[in-house]
Amino acid sequence: MSDKKLLEITNVSKSFFGVTVFADFDFDVKAGEVHCLCGENGAGKSTFIKILSGAYQPDGGEIVIDGKKVEGKLSPALSMNLGIETIYQEHTLMRNMTVMENLFIGKEITNGLKIDRRKMSRRTKEILESIGVTNIDPFNVVRNLGPAQQKFVEIAKAFVKEAKIIIMDEPTASFGAHEIDQLLNTVDTLKKSGIGIIYISHHLEEVFRIADRVTVIRDGRKIRTYDSAVEKLDEAAIIKDMVGRDASLFYARDEVGIGDVIMEVKNLSGPGVKDVSFSLRKGEILGFAGLVGAGRTELAEILFGRRKATSGEVFLKGKKITIKTPKNAIEAGMCMVTEDRQHTGLFINQKISLNSIVPQSVKAKKHFISPKYDWIVTKEYINKLRIKCKGPDQKVCYLSGGNQQKIAFCKWFITDGEVYIFDEPTRGVDIGAKEEIYHLMVQLCREGKSILMISSDMPEVIAMSDRVMIMKNGGITAEIQKEELDSETILQYALGGSVK
């Protein structure tokens, strides 16, 4: 590692509509260094990446890349020209092109007239080998590669572009243990060739293995930078820095009496979920915490019939139920507000009234419905849920995020079930609407319904849950009672979590 600074950021801040998401941030990367960035979901890591890659313009501050101060706007094209390459969490390769075509996109090797495929494939092999990958055929089409192999091709691509700084955002999501090893070795190779690496990961064990320095970010602010050359990296200290939070952010909910067990899940397994067992009581909010990709959404989808369980049993009110499709689940008394309301929750171009009536018509087997009935029922719930709109005939796409989310709730309230699954119930919702949604959830519990709440929002999990299950790698690693709930415990199990 040299002392040459490839990137230096001072005092950068960014706010959206008056809300500061990123403030007075200092950060630097030296040549041949791995600098890890750690923080909870929503701490500002993505904003950081977007500022560096030119997608967002910072409101203030200074960015110096390779000794040159960035004057004016940092556009995505400029950012790439200056040698910053970002490897995003999701795959960005052209799926239907070969590995070598992807590597040399826009930089094809030609022999005057046409593309020299032989030379290109030789170069591809060399580059892949130089980053320690030997099992990828340059002529293979990208869509045939596994997620890990695709990640390596992306890294190789950054290498072809002669990147000076490579940003890796959660590169090991969906990786196996062996692939993680391989990736960390690759990072090491890149580092030795003098490239500066910004490594973003939830997985602290990876961070400890490769980091030269670790910076903790929380609520858009830099908390502290640890230097592994100076001190030994301490997991507990880092976790504490990640979660330390103002208590005023917590919502104070009313207590609701909890009754008997209503749902019991025994040894449920399926795609992304391994041997999960838990029980849910009447009037209870059972939180599911864990990292993104821990299998929480998958569990919900298996329970609701979107994915097929491979083994295990589900009992509802003491009766064993078999769920093959969402229809079965709804008929059994379950409701699910999905994580992505735009793509899986709402009929965005339709009227509010149509959105709110569909699941009920399935459950109640109501073959004939008059439009007047739609209208009246929807109006009643618009008032109950305090949805801000012009009326039941308004199209959902014209509502704000929070009100759209309330429509997604509304359709299940009208359907009336026993168990409600909420996957990220307040994602993309402003503070005011958030509180109203919490209020509605408590209301549901008071009516004797039970709630399974998946949430990556730590204050939400702590404030709302009566009990929390923590998931990691598709299994449950811990069950925490309300009295023992705090962010550090949750994060500990979610990150490390070998103890049950």
Binding site: K327, A329, M336, T338, N349, F368, G391
Partner: protein, 324 residues
Amino acid sequence: MNKVKNEIQIERPPLGKRFISSDNTYLLFGLIAFIFIVSLIAPNFATPFNFSILMEQFAVPGIMAIGMCMLMISGGIDLAVGTQLSFISCVMALVVKDMDTAIPGIAIGVAVCIAGSFGMGLLISRTKMEPFIVSLGFMAIYKGLANITTNGAEYPIPGKMGFATDIRWATLPLMVYIMIAVVIIFFLILRFTRFGRWLYAVGDNPEAAFLSGINVKNFKLSMYTINGALVALATVLMLSRNEVGNPNLGVDLEMRAIASAVVGGTALAGGKGNIIGTFLGTIWMGIISNALNIIGLSSFFQYVVTGCIIIGAVLMNQIRYKNE
């Protein structure tokens, strides 16, 4: 938490107001204006005789447009309906000619027609193939089958199944009443049943529809099957009117059905459209070619004008949605 009630105090608008604010007003008033203008230019246009002929001409395309509209709302399409009608007309005519009575021929034709659409529905709903491509394939298959059954010849069946034009009330033939009945029935289905609601739901977002408990696969299958039944009905009326089974009987009908639906405000992308609009669209398409005929424009010009009108209608829809 403070419990301030900010209830919305609105009433459901009355029927008249709801109609005026719907997209169909433009179509209806435009139509009235168009009829008025043409009748000034051509005095023999707005006569009871011409109108009764017109309505007879609407019947077959009208029924097919209703089926097409339904498919398009749900995000599907069926390009095969024209050649399917040709093929089924050949099958019916062949059997009718052979057995010398109408009933078995109609029965066999209807059965074959529904079976064909059921098969197509199975392919579309059970695989991820695009309805556009699958039905394009079926379009060619039916065309071939029609020529195979008849060896490319015509099968005239004079006087065997003329009931739909022979039976008349108030100068209008039975087929006109059948079409009106189909329009009313489908209007009611889309408005007053959950099937109608699901149509829009599936067309707007099939994944959300599935997660709302709709069996999307079976739903699509049933829609294509219903469309098959409508095509069968249209074939019977067509045969009754033309009295000849012919491998070219249904030429261009699929385009006309799609155009009628689109003029009526149905979107190819799904989730948008309605029966009344489609019916008005059918009338528009029929009246334009009739008016151009009466004015004395050659049929070649009619294609150009019709094409312009379709594009103009879609453009107008887009402008309106943007203003929304």
